[in-house]
Amino acid sequence: MRLPHSRSQSLVFESNALFLTTLVLAAIVSGSPVVDAQEDAGAKTELASAQAPAANQTHEASTKFAVMAAYYGEMISHPGFSIGMEYYFFENNWFAAYVSPQVGWYIHPRNHYALFMEGNIGARFTARFGLFGELLGGLGYQQRWTHGGRVYSRDSDGSISSRFAAGSAALKVNGRFGFGWDFARNNLLPMVAFVRVGVFGEYPYNNYMLLHGSFEAGVIYRF
């Protein structure tokens, strides 16, 4: 007797999840060709009109809050995303200290996928012309599920049954460093583009803390 499972079902889910994640992210960062063409044609005009008022005013933040969205890659290439916010509890011309709650998701095909919520505290050092470096670390909660196929187990009567995936909860411990560009320093936009590379620990995993690499590339928009 075959179990009530079709391999094609898991493959469809697997392919769809990967494809949709990357497709959506690609669409977000790329924009449509039409928009690109328009931007190209009117670039000089837009730049000129944008710089005229910028000469007299800077994009100084009106609040201490910002929102962020990023590609989140576990081990760089296992795709996902993260979204969150930043609250700057101390800042001056070259330094900002902030807290950043985030939620995110990623998938490592045929291994696992995970949802996470985390709180980070960070320090950002920004040069006058906009380049910055930052360090951040924090703690969070991660819920992981197996990925790639069904999970089979033996019931108390000896028969075998299956389910879609097996999940487990874990503590997530983060450490990251990053760099990026603060466009507000050049009077362009109240926006930051960043790349962050880091390590996070997942505990427990086989009764120890499993280390993962992480890579983020995204933007922070400050109100």
Partner: protein, 347 residues
């Protein structure tokens, strides 16, 4: 014109999309078995339509059948039969949080039985064989000592497989000492090998009743010495590591860390099953690399003589150009020998 940053990110995302289409994410069937806190991946590859399935028991303890398949390949055998790659609890890519108390041979054998039953239920299996490498030899032996379980398996293939740890460690230490002395005589790394020989001299005299050293660090030290003497791979070349294994395959960093954690339990598997092996009566093929320094070839006659299988249904085959991994070092000859054995059983 597209902004350079946008182009860069688009290229990155395209790369990620391509990586997501890796063959390791597509080939074969992938599923998990869950037992006593462990969630263990199973990868079924090869000629499923043959109806002949080989359940592969990896070594270590703590290694990974799946990583071994990815890094070393097994294409020749998979052309003929379906091969079931399963990562044992607390090993390789296995997930979950099993209690360390479950790291014992009884539980491992129960896990094997679950894999066998799931595969038999999931596929049209005509004949099932079991193949154990290194520690997988001990695990397969443990499994087959149960009559009910043995009835599920048509034939047993051991590749440099352990069945008697006290004898294995005695022979492995002898092998290193003998080859280290040759190094000293030849003036190769003299000071290093003299130091290591002093260390081996601190071991108690065999027969061993427990591991001849304290624990995980010493296991790593001995293992490194076997490697330096080409006792794992005869020509000293290991399977190539490729970036795609990290970035575009199921492999995670668990492959690095998990086996280290499991080493703390090696002492608990220090068993000798030879007195009970007369109960194993199925056709058996014993494959050994001539130059194996970890599980030396001198162990082969003890396995052969201990098995209850009739003489005409058991055989030892020595691979002259292999150490501990004849299935990787001489894959074509290995496949030829295994196919001949399986066909002789099936026919």
């Amino acid at each position: 014109m597209r902004h350079p940053t946008t182009s860069f990110i688009s290229v990155c995302l395209t790369c990620i999309l391509l990586l997501s289409c890796s063959e390791y994410y597509q080939d074969g069937d992938w599923f998990y078995v869950e037992d006593e806190g462990a969630i263990m991946p199973v990868w079924v590859r090869g000629n499923v339509s043959s109806g002949i399935f080989i359940v592969f028991l990896h070594g270590g303890p703590g290694e990974s059948a799946i990583v071994e398949r990815i890094a070393a390949g097994n294409d020749y055998l998979e052309e003929h039969y379906a091969v079931v790659y399963w990562d044992q609890r607390g090993s390789g890519l296995a997930q979950g949080n099993p209690s360390p108390e479950t790291y014992n041979l009884d539980q491992f054998a129960e896990d094997v039985d679950l894999v066998v039953d799931v595969v038999k239920q999931k596929y049209d299996v005509n004949t099932m064989f079991m193949m154990g490498h290194s520690f997988g030899g001990m695990l397969g032996t443990e499994y087959l000592l149960d009559d009910t379980r043995q009835d599920k398996i048509a034939g047993w293939i051991a590749i440099d497989g352990v069945h008697n740890y006290p004898l294995q460690w005695e022979l492995a230490v002898e092998w290193v000492v003998e080859n280290a002395n040759l190094k000293v005589q030849n003036g190769e790394g003299t000071s290093y090998w003299e130091g290591e020989l002093e260390w081996y001299n601190t071991f108690p005299d065999p027969p061993y009743t427990e591991l001849p050293f304290a624990g995980a660090d010493e296991i790593a030290r001995h293992s490194a010495n076997v490697a330096y003497l080409n006792g794992w791979y005869y020509d000293g070349s290991y399977p190539e590591s490729k970036p795609e294994y990290v970035f575009a395959s199921p492999i995670s960093l668990a492959y690095v860390f998990t086996p280290i954690k499991l080493r703390d339990h090696w002492g608990e598997w220090f068993e000798d099953r030879s007195p009970e092996m007369y109960q194993i009566t199925i056709p058996s093929l014993l494959l050994w690399g001539r130059h194996d320094g970890g599980v030396p070839v001198e162990l082969a006659p003890d396995v052969y003589n201990s098995l209850g299988t009739q003489a005409e249904e058991k055989e030892i085959v020595i691979f002259e150009n292999s150490a501990h991994h004849p299935h990787e070092e001489e894959p074509e000859l290995f496949t030829q020998v295994v196919v001949e054995f399986i066909q002789s059983v099936v026919e």
